[in-house]
């Protein structure tokens, strides 16, 4: 056995023992050291870099590491085997995997306004903005030697009298504390109840002098990013908001790699732990502190997530999702409670899971489709959710079709060498001078902020401009040379947006490489070909689309005209495009605050037809055709 020490910039060393020949990445995972490995250790992504500081490693140099970097000690953890005592420096994960994601951080008023707009459009659609949680005041007679009814019967009877309902359920958590609460407050209390047509469920009990906070939690669990809000269930007001990277990301960047990881021994628990204990619980803690409430005041939660994510969340076998004939354990389920899966809120809190409609179209889409209101309109609309999986819904008030395609993490800045979230230092927009090839950048942050990376909307602009200026050819390869076009030893080209030292805020050039462009072209190709395939499958044409709702973490800065220029979206007037933000979270919010909305989402899910693109032979053809700028069939982009 050899001693392996992981060193960190901001925390204490972790030391473990490992056998000869063990992979460093595996050792790290076993020890719960987070090393970013979106490709799950195939040596293909080059993200799992560590720096050798002492001892030695049996390590291959791959194309991801230059000679200079190798000499400095940089190694890929997945290509390194233990052959001696060793100490490695692990780059700060906050700057490695968390920061390269575009987290919808809800910091701008625009993003928050979306929630107000939803409330308005729900009301306009004739749906009641009301849920069945409420608090009621119950005053009972104090027991005496003559009045010997036990506490639970006393409370039950009192509630029956007030509500007129026969069946009243008291869970363990209430029975556990009621003796004390009742006596402390002289049998004058407020109770938090859920009222349905059949029964009353009592969530909590407190003194009549305390106004109970009835809070709810809405979460969007994305493959890459998790975002959440805590709301006041009585009026839908947002009490706190937060987001973070999905802790499962170190087990693979996409759903397929996660499922494979979950089938290894202990994998299912490991992945569930990563999302609940490492991601959701800390997030809830932070948000509760922000809102100044106890997590126990969260009596209901709603989750919108893709099929794989909600399977892994509740800890069920997700393998059938990826295996033909692709049948998941559930589309919808009503029987999960927070206490069942260890989410640290009120253990009796019911978890509303937005329903899935297929293995690759999940609750994030049904919830999202609800808030776009396309189901309530005559004109045909297209709803596109740009995530790691791209999902598309097409339809109107009469019918809806949906499909999913695998776009990869490129839209969220993953898979892109200088990709990052839309935070300070991110290039969010760009124009390039066709003559001089010099860029003009818009950077997120205060005036004078130097660029350190590129976020999703920036990538679209850069590729569109490089193509317009004929710096890259329609295949995304560099065809012009100049000061800003670099070539590496293998001849791979890149365009430098900001040179290290003089322009960039980071210690290396901010650039976009042919590999980045290629990843992005494949992502946009997947989206466009899915749109085309689905429309032609329904015998529709792009000219029939009147509204396009674009959702996802790509950011509100997205330039629709440039997205059309590169052939990501169909060539229809820019005015028809609307950026609608994180519809998955918005949908979860709607289902949480309005019981009728929840029902409506179930109804939509039942009425949505799922198309499995992999069964349509035309799709692969469309995909290859779409992996070109703007498209192999230029007649599809007459205005570009």
């Amino acid at each position: 056995m050899y001693k392996v020490t992981f060193k960190f910039e901001n925390s204490e060393d972790v030391t473990v023992f490992a056998a000869f020949g063990e992979s460093l990445l595996e050792v790290a995972r076993k020890t719960n050291v987070a090393i970013d490995a979106p490709c799950s250790g195939n040596a293909s992504c080059g993200k799992c870099r560590v720096k050798l500081v002492e001892g030695e490693l049996d390590s291959k140099q791959t194309r991801h590491i230059s000679d200079e970097e190798y000499a400095q000690g940089w190694r890929l953890a997945c290509c390194s085997k233990i052959n001696a005592d060793v100490a490695v420096m692990v780059p700060d994960i906050a700057s490695a995997y968390r920061s390269r994601m575009k987290v919808a951080d809800l910091s701008s008023p625009d993003e928050l306004k979306i929630f107000d707009n939803i409330k308005q459009s729900i009301t306009e659609a004739g749906i009641e903005l009301k849920n069945n949680l409420e608090s009621i005041h119950v005053k009972m007679d104090v027991p005496t030697l003559d009045d010997t009814m036990p506490d639970n019967e006393r409370l039950t009877r009192a509630i029956r009298e007030i509500t007129g309902m026969q069946r009243v359920k008291l869970p363990y958590s209430v029975i556990h504390k009621m003796a004390q609460v009742l006596r402390e407050h002289n049998f004058d209390v407020n109770v938090v109840i859920r009222k349905t047509e059949k029964d009353i469920f009592v969530y909590d009990i407190c003194g009549a002098d305390e106004a109970p906070v009835i809070a709810g939690l809405a979460i969007d669990i994305g493959t890459t990013t998790v975002s959440a809000i805590i709301i006041d269930m009585t009026d839908g007001k947002i009490l706190a908001k937060g987001s973070s990277g999905n802790g499962q990301i170190r087990y693979g960047a996409d759903v397929i790699n996660r499922i494979i990881e979950s089938r290894k021994p202990g994998g299912q628990d490991k992945l569930q732990k990563a999302i609940i204990e490492e991601t959701i619980n800390p997030l809830v803690q932070t948000m509760c502190r922000q809102a100044k409430i106890s997590p126990m005041n969260i009596y209901r939660m709603s989750v919108a997530a893709n099929t794989t994510m909600n399977h892994l969340l509740i800890g069920v076998n997700a393998d059938p999702v990826r295996m033909e004939p692709y049948i998941p354990t559930f589309f919808k389920t009503n029987s999960i409670f927070a206490g069942d899966i260890g989410i640290k809120v009120n253990p009796d809190a019911h978890i509303i899971l937005a329903p899935n409609i297929g293995s690759y179209v999940g609750g994030d889409i049904t919830a999202g489709a609800f808030v776009t209101m396309l189901w309530n309109q005559e004109p045909f609309s297209l709803f596109i959710d740009l995530g790691t999986n791209g999902e598309i819904v097409f339809g109107n008030s009469d019918f809806m079709f949906s499909c999913a395609c695998s776009a990869g993490p490129a839209f969220e800045g993953g898979d892109i060498s200088c990709g990052m979230r839309a935070t300070d230092g991110a290039i969010e927009a760009c124009t390039i001078d066709a003559e001089t090839m010099e860029p003009k950048l818009t950077i997120v942050g205060n005036e004078g902020t130097k660029p350190v990376g590129i976020c999703g909307s920036g990538i679209i602009d850069i590729i569109s401009e490089l193509f317009r200026c004929k710096i890259i050819n329609p295949k995304g390869k560099f065809v012009r040379e100049g000061r800003r076009v670099k070539r590496d030893a293998d001849g791979m080209g890149s365009y430098v947006l900001a040179f290290e030292g003089e322009e960039a805020g980071s210690s290396k050039d901010v650039e976009i490489t042919e590999v980045d462009i290629d990843s992005f072209i494949r992502a946009k190709g997947a989206i466009f070909s899915a749109i085309r395939t689905m429309l032609s499958y329904c015998d529709f044409d792009i000219s029939m689309i009147e509204n396009v709702y674009v959702a996802g973490g790509i950011g509100s800065g997205i330039n629709m005209a440039n997205a059309i220029n590169i052939g990501m979206f169909p060539d229809i007037p820019v005015e028809m495009y609307h950026y609608v933000g994180n519809t998955s979270l918005a949908g979860a919010y709607a289902m949480l605050c309005s019981t009728e909305s929840e029902r409506k989402v179930y109804e939509l899910a039942a009425n949505m037809t799922y198309i499995e693109l992999s069964t349509i032979p035309q799709y692969m053809d469309e995909f290859v055709g779409a992996c070109f700028l703007p498209h192999t069939d230029a007649s599809l982009f007459p205005n570009r």
Binding site: N473, P474, K475, V479, D621, V624, G625, C627, F628, T632, A634
Partner: protein, 313 residues
């Protein structure tokens, strides 16, 4: 009522591309009907047949081919002999030995051999590479220069090296540029777009859309060619109207049906017959699907296919 057949000719047509010089020059393409549909409209140029020799001379050839070249001492001799075979329209020279993972012959040596051959025959020439994209880029640049004025076909530029090959062959030395893609209509079209954006006149581009021997994933080949022709003619897609040249010999003579010796597979009968059958069947199928020229190597196959073309067109 008498039956009046409706003509299936299109408004669009396949580009007519000429290669070679003088009275031996050949022209392929030019038709405005589906392959061999001469009943719909006259087919201007019947599909052409080329003969292939490689820089290895007779070294790697099966016995049944060697016997036709008996007495040839040099590549030039072989070329002259090949040019004299019945039904041969053009000569194809494959620089197989250039492969860095194979014989790794130098560019100078191969170009020297190419020049010898070019001096020996007056037939139009097609130059094929070694399948290594980097080496091919180098070989083809030099070949285009060496064959200046010969109007030869450089087969072929691929996505990875089209810039070098296209610039040398198409722009600098005005040869005909072959565009090779891997059995996919979109990839074929994409490469044609890239080559024309480079400034190469699309009227001096031919395609090799990829092939296989019959029975080896061949349905993909056929459906790709079918759809390329349909897009070119029915939809008038100018980026797919280039004629197609298909090198058949290198595929057909590389599969076990053609290579297995009679001792190893006695139940399969004569090896020579099997080889010819594979070659003829593959060639005829790709012609019926839209190839405007094929490259073969057994003199008997060439005789059969060129005979068929005389009958059919």
């Amino acid at each position: 009522m008498p039956f009046t057949a409706k003509s299936g000719k299109f408004n669009a047509s396949i580009n007519a591309v000429e290669f070679g010089t003088g009275d031996k020059a050949v022209k392929i393409g030019g038709e405005n009907v589906f392959p061999l549909y001469s009943f719909d409209a006259a087919i201007e140029n019947a599909p052409k047949v080329g003969i292939e020799i490689t820089d290895f001379g007779m070294e790697h050839e099966p016995e049944c081919i060697k016997k036709y070249y008996e007495g040839c001492a040099t590549l030039a001799d072989m070329a002259r002999k090949a040019a004299s075979m019945e039904g041969v329209d053009f000569l194809s020279f494959r620089m197989e030995g250039g492969d860095p993972n194979g014989a790794n012959k130098s560019t100078e040596e191969l170009i020297g051999e190419l020049k010898e051959i070019a001096d020996a025959v007056d037939l139009p020439l097609v130059v094929c590479g070694c399948k290594n994209v980097e080496k091919d880029a180098e070989l083809f640049s030099k070949a285009a220069e060496a064959l200046n004025g010969k109007n030869a076909v450089i087969l072929s530029a691929k996505e990875e090296n089209y810039k070098t090959v296209g610039a040398a062959a198409g722009l600098a030395y005005k040869q005909v540029v072959g565009a090779e893609s891997a059995v996919d209509i979109n990839l074929a079209k994409q490469l044609n777009v890239l080559i024309s954006q480079l400034g190469v006149d699309s009227k001096s581009v031919v395609m090799n859309v990829g092939t296989a021997a019959v029975g080896y994933g061949f349905e993909y080949v056929i459906s790709t060619m079918d759809r390329v022709k349909a897009a070119a003619l029915q939809q008038g897609d100018a980026n797919l109207q280039m004629p197609i040249i298909t090198p058949v010999a290198s595929e057909a003579w590389g599969v076990k049906e053609a290579m297995a010796s009679e001792t190893d597979a006695p139940e399969w009968g004569s090896q020579e017959e099997r080889g010819i059958d594979m070659e003829v069947e593959t060639a005829m199928a790709v012609i019926a699907a839209g190839s405007n020229a094929v490259i073969l190597k057994h003199p008997e196959s060439i005789k059969i296919i060129s005979g068929l073309m005389k009958e059919l067109v």
